[in-house]
Amino acid sequence: MSLEYTSAEMMTVTAARALENGMTCFVGIGLPSEAANLARLTHAPDVVLIYESGTLQTKPDVLPLSIGDGELCESALTTVSVPEMFRYWLQGGKVDVGFLGTAQIDRYCNLNTTLIGDYQSPKVRLPGGGGAPEIATNAGEVFITLKHSKRTFVKDVDFVTTLGFGRDGKGRDGVPNIGQGPTRVITDLCVMKPDPETKELVVVSLHPNVSREDVIEATGWEIRFADTLETTPEPNARELDVLRELKARTERKHSGE
């Protein structure tokens, strides 16, 4: 029996499943936060969620709108200063996985959250780096989740805000004390991983009912597919229930505020 679910739900559930119980995860706001909390509320109750606002091991009942909602502090083990968060916990090597979203990503997993166009006269000014540049290099590995489109998946990002593997795929080679970088990208269409050699993104798994052509059309370069292409497992009923309840709770809370 097949369940009904949206492609956004498919993306979130798949992203959530990437987190293993007991991992420490530095959580970006938005989609990563949704996925990380879903993981915590389903298969990974002991996943440790850290937000850059200083909240260590937080267990919010509703999703935070901002990276520093009161809910995060109230449900945290403790809350430290922001310098301590970046120095002791992220740079200090205590984070297994950084979970990031992005506005643009390229074939070498570089992320752009700075701007579209030219730096001096931007077409669109984006929010900027935030925590991402150092999350991506100081965390053990990086998961990335975002919606798939030609606008977001570009051959070369307009600006490397945050290192994936550099403009040539060799950006981490020989750099001391650096994490392994992005290990998977989860979209509403598929899961991609960097090629072990070239670091170029390769589709390793298509979501149910998604075709190769769907992915090709939504990607701004000639996307490669793994030789053995898997089908991403579907969400189960519990995951969908928990996710929908979480989003409904969140919606009620935020509109009431």
């Binding site: 520093g68 200063s81 922001v82």
Partner: protein, 276 residues
């Protein structure tokens, strides 16, 4: 020893045109009342420092207070763009605003270094990022022990820092609680500091919930204290009132358009009096 002033007088006395100003609060305890007072007093030419500009800087930039913004993430958290910041950067309205951008890690370390009286902060940062190509304040040094290349940024040393906190006591000591951000660092790094508070209590150390390691900034390390009830609204004050996520969402509509923004400014800032 901190002086107790009205918010009007504190801003009038310590925020000079052309000054470098850090108004901090990481989502929590954002000094909105103080920002509005800066707008109301028509301060101009400010260099505004803040990790996460947030809508308080959007308002100040739209009102024409800023000449330059130094930041690491300039958005409306969970909602979208800061339209006034974008309008200033992209289209020069109400006038061109210069930006200098960092990563959070670098700015957090720069505040820490400022509080620590150092000229620079050293971090393992900006590896592979193109930010150093557009920010000439980012340099690299070599560790004399390991040879590792590390990033260096100048410390943040504002002319004046403004933060909001829960309580001050009669001796001017200030308690910051919950998400403490870089508030203490901002105050200690600045030449002058203004702290707005929800309330004044008799003695912080005699409070029922006193904790020996609480984040308390002594009165002698603060220039001025002003009471500003709800002074962080629509941001929040842990233990006092929640964040108005609804207003943050509404801001998107208000700020998207120059006219609705200007009308909002007239109604809620210029003609709203303000606390004295």
């Amino acid at each position: 020893m901190a002086e107790f002033l009205s918010l009007h007088d504190a801003v009038a006395r310590y925020v000079e045109d052309g000054a470098t100003v850090a108004m901090e609060g990481f989502t929590h305890l954002i000094p909105f009342a103080a920002g509005h007072e800066v707008i109301r007093q028509g301060k101009r030419g400010l260099t505004l420092i803040r990790m996460t500009p947030d809508i308080v800087y959007d308002q100040m930039i739209g009102a024409g207070c800023a000449r330059k913004v130094i930041f690491s993430w300039g958005g409306n958290p969970g909602v979208g763009s800061l339209h006034r910041l974008r309008d200033a950067v992209e289209k020069g309205w109400p006038h061109k605003v210069e930006i200098l951008e960092h990563s959070h890690a670098a700015m957090a370390c720069a505040f820490e270094a400022g509080a620590a009286g150092l000229p620079l902060a050293v971090l393992r940062g900006y590896v592979g990022s193109e930010l150093p190509s557009v920010n000439d304040q980012i340099k690299f040094i070599e560790c004399p022990f390991t040879g590792e290349r590390l990033a260096a940024v100048p410390s943040v040393r504002p002319d004046v820092s403004i933060v909001h906190a829960q309580k001050a006591d009669r001796a001017g000591n200030v308690l910051v609680e919950g998400i403490i951000g870089v508030q203490k660092e901002a105050v200690l790094a600045a030449k002058k500091s203004i702290v707005t508070v929800e309330e004044i209590v008799d003695d912080l150390t005699a409070q029922a919930d006193y904790h020996p390691n609480a984040c308390i900034i002594p009165g002698w390390a603060i220039t001025a204290i002003a009471v500003a009830e709800n002074g962080a609204y629509p941001s929040y004050a842990h233990g006092y009132y929640p964040r108005s996520n609804r207003f943050y969402k509404e801001w998107d509509t208000i700020a998207r358009d120059r006219d609705t923004f200007t009308a909002w400014l007239d109604e809620h800032i210029y003609n709203a009096g303000g606390q004295s």
